[in-house]
Symmetry: D3
Subunit: 319 residues, 6 copies
């Protein structure tokens, strides 16, 4: 079966893909007809596709997150590839395909990622930090197997959030070795907690975010995580003004490093400074890696990357 | 006894005043001697004063927040008035003066202010909003009699925070009458809660802030208040994701109206929009009023006001 | 007759509506044909509509601001409702409908609004302020019955400008009672004058702005209003440097509260500070109210509101 | 007599200078005494000076803008030169010196500058533009002989405003020759009018600004000039919405080229674009020239120049 | 033959034009067909055009930068003129037309422009400045006959870069006469060098930029020009830290006048200040002139101009 | 000998210290006398000190960067410690002290640091990258033993630049292992070259920067480094447009990650993104570490740190 990333203009293909997005539209000409404006995806990439002259049944059948069998033609439209769908049907049990075969996911199995994070927590020596981190981690553990780290910016795929945490934990340990004045438990707990409420901020399935939750819009994941730490401390009977509660809440609150403008808080603990920059380097390099990965290797330049000040990345032909 | 606001260059006076600030300094000339660089205050205003050739005993005796009897001379220095102290002693019991006679305070008694706020809370109809507001209010009620609303910006005096709340509650009720689609309980609770954690953010006595607390610096009063609402809900067994918890936390979080940049949250409820602008109008007009009040009436222009984009206010001679 | 706000996908309807906007477009398919891309409106809301295969006569007949009888079908297109027009004709005299039945307008009759403003002016005690305000008011009185306060931002409907003034006058009086150091005549005159030149800045009919005038683009309504005050003073033989002229011009000039950067002027009178914040709170709350009003009640969130930092408003399900 | 610009540390000198600024200060040591903190100036530069142990008489005698005879010693203090005054007296009639000998002034006589401007106006062909320009010019003609263009930024000396106009008129004519689509009368009138109200915005004598007027602070010179054009049109019975009034007001309003943010207006006529950039180039190059002129030639770098983004200018040793 | 600038809706015409841009698109209706979305241009202006039902041969034949014979119909679409192409063929030798007849170009022949620049260089007196300028100039001399100064902003046509240089050289000489403290050789060399690497930054033909080069994206024309000066100095055996190398590199580096933020350099030589403002005035006035030139004279307002803060220019009807 | 970091108010001490800064000032009282305003330093910290009644000889003897023997008294002045000098003399040969005993320096010997960097370069596999890096490195190798990385921001001490490089090289290698798509030679060379021209930008001795060089002000270290790469390529006969030259110049140019605003270049290679964030994390954590190190351990909060948005760091009392 042909991977989407390998499509070339003129290809005719048949295979299974995932309907990542589906919109019903009408042609604007004489007697307007309905058609489906689709985003097909597999584990390698995604592509725009059209099903012209869609029947009522088509509209009802082909909803987002459905695996389908497609016969299609690859064309060029406005300098981008696009699929004209010739035949389309839902995958059936006999086809023996599963949605998880068609989604992008972290390069390491999420079971392994979650285990790694649990191991880091279990090795913490500071009892209260360990307890609070465990409490918050358990609130989302089940969702962590799938949750992405963001809607589009970076690590936007199955297991992306856990993958982001694991990479940051590796970097965090290395930096603590370089600079022993950093308190490792505090920094590693900050890494685990800084984005821990993202699964409550965004509604997602199979690593694909559909939208933000009401809580997500009105409070945001940072303030949710801060509330979870309050909740954990109350349940664990740790004083709300204990240094470890103050420290963990400060790390979460300040990790975006905003200017002191109104309610925002900037890093004022060494570990908070470290957390911000470890988060930044991991997120930015992952954006670069993901974009290079989904850009055909024949392209010298990737598309523009929003999170990198909207710049593209160049494949420098170093020998 | 002469009020500081009435001092004119050349006056010689004797009276009781408060040592609001005291710093020990050394003259820079030949054989350096110690002197005290003082801010004297009373209920009308404040003024810089010097006690030259301070003895060891003077340094130990004259500490901030002491009421003293001063014989002094009013001079002009760098276009501003300043007092040269001739004689100075601590007030004694027989003098029959109290520190509260010398501090600036809200124009309404703080007992009355606190009673007014309690009445507004007691009249709320929404049971959970009323309960959460009561819980948080009681955490600081004792401090509210004295607490200022800010270190210098606005309402920076005895009872200033309660006064700010009461004025905002009046405006809030008026706006709810103009626009019945606003839910009064939610808005009024938001007004009570938006700055409720300020007494925990700043260390103050008699309405004068000495510095920020560690909690204040690391979390800020907004996030403290949000945590208090979480705490209240847990104690009161209200679900943490109930609409009233979400709504009150959103009002507090968004009242500085920051751009959506990282962790910041902007108003997304009608009452949150109202809260922000009611807070703004009350704070800004109070800055104007306070500055006019402490500026001698012979001055056409007040000093520059930081919170008003550093502009001065002009006394327009309208007939 | 069905109100636009009540339309549901699948409805078929017949009724009278206003052609708020009409654009002639061509289908992009094979042999391109003309069609009309229309915005229909009534007093409740507005909706996009298409007339396919428009004849030359259609193009000439159906121009903006015409009341028409429509038979149409409500469809969903790109997640929004849209009308496919089946039959369309101009309203005739026998239909007994008037354009004013189909426009959005302030919730209070504009006659009443204008009368209210006149009453406030007539009660002013400062003779020159009253005379200047009257002079400027009379320049636009006839247009005030219809003029909107803005093209889209807020109060963008029939009588919107007068409604904005009246609400601000109510707030202004309340604030003057709270804070007697404010000079009511100056503030109330400033409220009347701050947007008084908007009818000269924007071309509108029935409260709908078609475009900005050349004067509006080259000078802007603020500088036009300042010139009108100069003109009024000259006609009334008031010195151009009299405090009341200076004060009123300053209130108008500074009401957007810009940083002192080049030619911009920031509030430096107490009444100018009050004017700015009263304008802000009224405009922002009206944006919220208008948007909630035109959003179907089945929607949890309104569309994004430009003037509120592009945030949406949430209908919090408080019991 | 030694010019200030030529002073070297260690010099002892006697001569006549102008007291540009005088402040009475007190020494901070043991028994504080008064001294005068002075800025001495002549036509070449200015320098800080101290008169220690000032008597009451000294304080009364030595006020700003007095010409004095000074015997002094040049010393270095904080890496800058400073004068210790040994003897000081007011200049008397027999000394035969005049204040105009001690002020910095434009390099061309102001009589000549004013004549040049009048000639440019007299050669305008467009009757109304010529009449309006003449009217406004005559309002300040008497002050133009002395008025500076700014307090400190550029052309801050006797005749500086007229000098700025003349240089801009030269550039304006050259640009009109390069680009005949520009209407010379409109551009040249804009050059004359753009800063015409500066004498009403700032109080100055002999080209030295002491402070801003109340009108200057509350309205600013740009809006004053716009009002003058309105006044001129009314007196000359030119319609207030005639293109020439609109054009001239637009040129004045937009010459600072602010972003469209609230009340500000940006250039939207070709001549308005030209005016902004001609103003900029003349002001910036004059800052450079003035700063190089008042910096001792032994210095490689000038002081930082606020109007040039706070950068210093380097004397590149090109052979 | 009809010039594009003279087209009026309804015109039918036959003539030769240049295919400036061609994109293959598909109609979105029923059975999608290909059509060509074209930009036709001649020396007067440009216009959008469509060739419906394009065959495979059409797609291969009609590529950008081809001169064609067109029979077409001028229509109005979305308030703009557009051409419906009826017949289309490539120009043949017998047609006796050349691509250079159809491109916009500087109003002076580029031969003359290049000669003028060479003359200015040849008259320089400072040997090293002259040698470095000559070296860099010769690197691009052949390209200067055609190169535009920008992709769209200003002087975006055949010979535009040379034209920009010549105009700036005229202004530069005038300013040096006004202000003799400016060193003419340094300033004029800076004018020649400031944009000299633009031909290496952008790929263009006949004055039309197709895209940026990889060097252009990764280094930018400013840093390329700085490197060329290094290269020139090494070849000419001038020390890399000689004042003339330093001066010329500084002029190039600082000509965009950025705030000192990281690697950016602001003008710190008098000639660098002059260069920045001469560049600005020439570029901005040319944008105005070009936009007026390509806007039909019947339009009161030009389109918005990006480089002028996105403002339009008004044709003020001065008599 | 007592370390400065251990000074407590009231201490009297005798020992050797370095005169890091010396300024001659005058007392402002009656008969002004000269005194020396000094910064004393040793390897642990630095402190302000005064020598009252300085003689002419004192002024000539005690110049910056002299090692002296001091008898002094530690006092508190404006809440900070300060030394009143009782006796002072230059260190003599018999004292057997060397300036290097009194300067702050990197925690690893600079010989070791330089050797480490050379080893990394020697292990590069890409011949041209290795050659260019070696060429540039050798230009400053001798200065690298002492050069600081900045004037005050971070690594502002003896060997600070080499220390910054070494730490970044460690991090760079770790990140390359985490993410094998990064080309290690390019990234490591970028780390060596990104600040390589700092010794030419700043004049320093013993790790203390006295000022910026003229080259530093006019071109800046980034553009100097880019020129050195051009110079290296020419000497090594590598084409100036070879990918390795382009890549290295891009890494240097973009490492401050400026928005694309005029001449500035942002990271567009994966290694450039990595370089920017590795530079940031190392610089910021070093600021934190250095500030904690020089702040007495009795202080809960450090002073404000400019490079960290002017925030202080808190010593959280985690058990």
């Amino acid at each position: 079966m042909m991977l989407i990333k390998q499509f070339v203009s003129g290809d005719e293909f048949t295979g299974f893909y995932l309907l990542k997005e589906v919109e019903v539209k009408q042609t604007s000409g004489g007697a307007p007809k309905e058609y489906l404006d689709i985003v097909l995806s597999d584990s390698s990439s995604y592509i725009s596709a059209k099903l012209w002259d869609a029947s009522k049944l088509d509209v009802e059948t082909f909803v987002p997150m459905t695996v389908v069998k497609v016969q299609g033609l690859v064309q060029t439209y406005r300098e981008r590839l696009q699929v004209k769908i010739i035949r389309l049907r839902k995958a059936e049990e006999e086809d023996n395909v599963s949605i998880t075969d068609f989604i992008r996911s972290a390069p390491i199995s999420t079971e392994q990622l979650v285990t790694t994070i649990e191991k880091v927590i279990s090795e913490m020596e500071h009892a209260e930090i360990k307890a609070i981190t465990t409490y918050c981690f358990n609130k989302v553990k089940d969702e962590l197997y799938a949750a992405p780290a963001a809607k589009t910016h970076h690590h936007a795929y199955y297991g992306g959030l856990a993958y982001h945490m694991v990479r940051m934990l590796e970097l965090g340990k290395f930096v603590c070795e370089q600079r022993p004045f950093l308190r490792a438990d505090l920094l590693l707990a900050g890494i685990v907690l800084h984005d821990i409420a993202k699964p409550a901020e965004m509604n997602s399935s199979y690593g694909i975010v559909s939208d933000y939750s009401n809580q997500g819009k009105l409070l945001g994941h940072i303030h949710l995580a801060v509330s979870w730490i309050t909740e954990a401390a109350m349940k664990l009977e740790i004083a709300l003004d204990a240094p470890e509660v103050l420290g963990l809440q400060h790390l979460v609150l300040s990790h975006h490093n905003l200017p002191e403008w109104g309610s925002s808080i900037q890093p004022q603990l060494p570990e908070a400074v470290a957390l911000h920059y470890i988060d930044a380097i991991d997120a930015k390099l992952q954006m670069v890696e993901d974009t290079l990965h989904t850009t055909p290797e024949t392209e010298e330049w990737t598309p523009f990357i929003r999170g990198l000040e909207n710049k593209a990345i160049y494949r420098l032909p170093l020998k």
